[in-house]
Symmetry: C2
């Protein structure tokens, strides 16, 4: 048996742990060769494959892989067209898969990548190919349907909550009035921004307000809320999702300038929400403000990974292999939670069509009525996901990574 595995879409701190899980389970199941696609399906189309058995020879390499952020194999943002529009692409992919005698195809990615799994498994059925296609979820956005949460979310949430705790301390040292606006990733789903709520505890007053894209944002309401809070507290820390939108559907960052760029998927490039809000508040309230964008640090700060997340990412990779070995195709491995306290969550299987291109947002019932914070329900849901520390393997004072050269 030979298998091939690829990574696609934006990176997380634990996507390589899922790769390690797929690799370990495939080897344990007796796979002769475990191939890796360089740069996902786009590399497969060019036959750019590596033999993971040659690259991951020792326990140390597997351990390092679990500690390495981003995509060991490289990634792509390549969306397959429909079979009707571009059948030659499908033919090319299957000719490569047959050339290397591939039995199982694993794709680690978000909802766009699950679309690739859905299309390829459907095409396999159409042409009567026995190759099995299984998705392995990953995204810091936590916006995949069916699964309780996504691998990558716990580590990103731990980074966000830790950073908010540290920023709250940093912002509290002066006596002057000040507003710090922290911008957190999340285009349509506010899951990661919600993690700012985890910072609150006995030793931290937490973020003063948290704004998610799920609730329409009002500029005037924001000014009023900041002004009201400043009456009883000098240094405010506010978390905003990059994707917060006005009631008319425009992104808040669009107010900053009209010429926003679009990416290859036609998504608008969202930058500058925090900068815009900080500048506005400085003008309107004559206070000192600062904008902080957590930017890509939140998806690659592997030095602060959640041990729970790393372990689960590994397990979901193994679960995908188990599903393929059981003959499943056109599915994804997912998480099903049975209990919050104690936290109990296992890997199960879902049809890929229920996940591909779908998006799960934060339930409105988990957001405070005034739209500025999260309820206890969210805390109970998210807290187990950030538990445990996956201390890096340090060498010469810095975390070590495994790099494919």
């Amino acid at each position: 048996m030979n298998v091939v595995v690829g990574q696609s879409g934006g990176p997380t701190s634990v996507i390589n742990a899922s790769l390690a899980g797929v690799y370990a389970a495939a080897v344990a199941a007796g796979a002769e060769k475990v191939y890796g696609m360089r740069n996902g399906i786009s590399g497969l189309l060019k036959e750019r494959l590596v033999v993971l058995n040659d690259l991951l020879k020792s326990e140390r390499e597997i351990e390092l892989l679990k500690h390495t952020p981003a995509c060991y194999l490289g990634s792509c943002r390549y969306k397959l067209k429909s079979v009707e529009k571009c059948e030659e692409e499908y033919e090319k992919i299957f000719s490569v898969l047959e050339k290397y005698s591939i039995d199982c195809f694993f794709y680690i990615g978000g909802n766009d990548s699950m679309d690739t799994v859905a299309k390829l498994s459907a095409y396999a059925a159409k042409i009567g190919s026995g190759i099995r296609f299984v998705g392995v979820p990953k995204t810091i956005d936590n916006d995949l349907t069916e699964t309780d949460h996504t691998p990558g979310y716990g580590s990103a949430a731990k980074f966000v909550a830790t950073t908010i705790k540290e920023l709250v301390r940093d912002c509290s040292i002066y006596e002057a009035e000040a507003l710090t606006v922290v911008e957190i990733m999340g285009r349509n789903a506010g899951w990661l921004t919600a993690a700012a709520a985890l910072a609150k505890g006995e030793d931290c007053e937490g973020a003063d307000m948290i704004f998610l894209p799920e609730v329409p944002f009002s500029m005037d309401g924001f000014v009023e809320k900041v002004a009201t809070l400043l009456k009883r507290k000098k240094a405010l820390v506010v978390a905003v999702s990059e994707g917060v939108k006005l009631a008319d559907g425009r992104y808040v960052c669009e107010l900053a300038s009209a010429d926003q760029k679009e990416d290859v998927f036609g998504h608008k490039q969202l930058t500058g929400t925090a900068l815009f809000l900080a500048n506005e508040m400085a003008h309107r309230l004559s206070i000192k403000t600062r904008a902080i964008e957590l930017s890509t640090l939140q998806r690659c700060a592997a030095h602060l990974s959640s041990a729970t997340d790393v372990e689960e990412a590994y397990e979901v990779g193994m679960g995908a292999v188990k599903a393929a070995l059981a003959g499943r195709t056109g599915v994804a491995a997912i998480f099903t939670r049975t209990s919050n306290v104690p936290y109990r969550c296992g890997v199960s299987i879902a049809e890929i069509d229920k996940i591909a291109n779908m998006e799960k947002t934060v339930p409105l019932s988990w957001i405070h009525e005034d739209g500025t914070g999260l309820t206890e329900e969210y805390i109970k849901y998210a807290m187990p996901l950030i538990q445990g520390e996956m201390s890096p393997i340090y060498e010469n004072g810095l975390p070590c990574h495994l790099v494919l050269k």
Copy 2:
């Protein structure tokens, strides 16, 4: 014997470790009361003192203090005027010190704060007061004279180098040409930006270019260098100091104001150095670019402190107390290094006048001739400072802090 200690200026991850060192040494020397000034000298002027003996009762509290970023006692940016201009301020300060029977005054801060120590010790001599004034250095900028390095620099450097390593991985995953510009703190001295050079190693290609304020920056030269690098490498990561300046002395970020956009409310958007450079390169070279400002995270990411830095920050606090007990005043505790390999560095004493208001920049001989990187001399100097990990005390998945409420 009673002592008072304060913190002043911008925070670091280890300024509280110095506070712990002062406290521990004072208590060990038999101090009856160790007072803390709330918000530095500005709080002392208002008699806002706390009794640290009541606040730091257990070993755990001292340990937590060493792990807590920013200033436990609060900080200020208050510069004393000259005695000639404002003698009543000095009188007020000394009346408070006498009211509380203070024998020794310790001030943890950067070069502005050392000015406070210099002025107060000079005034004490003038009025014949026996109170001793000793400075404890701190700054992530590493720009203090006399001392080999400053407490706070090692932890900030470790954060910068770790983050650059993680960002290099994150940026390497796609096949498209892309430029990531990372903005690092340091207005006139490039020490912290230089730490990006520490990321390079067997498992990391490091930052592709590093620009410090010590060397004049050329926009055309930058475009040319990026274009040249792109011929052999697709994803570039460039580190720039927030304070890079053109040959005519203007800050690079000042160039942004020429084509600054106005938001819908007619306010000008303030743009940073990295954002300006990233936008420029996107236009000039038609490549994908991203600007990342490490912002205040680099000074408060205590979860990634250098154990060497924390230990030294504690020792320099103790050293300051020892100096005061030996009758010294108008001095600061500093570091003197005797060897790089093995790293040997001890606490000694310097006259405050040689430190106050002075600034130490990166030696030009440590910067590559083309101004885009650091020499081996710098690496040998900085590497020992980021060694060792000071793992946080975690509770419920997040680092714990000690907070003065």
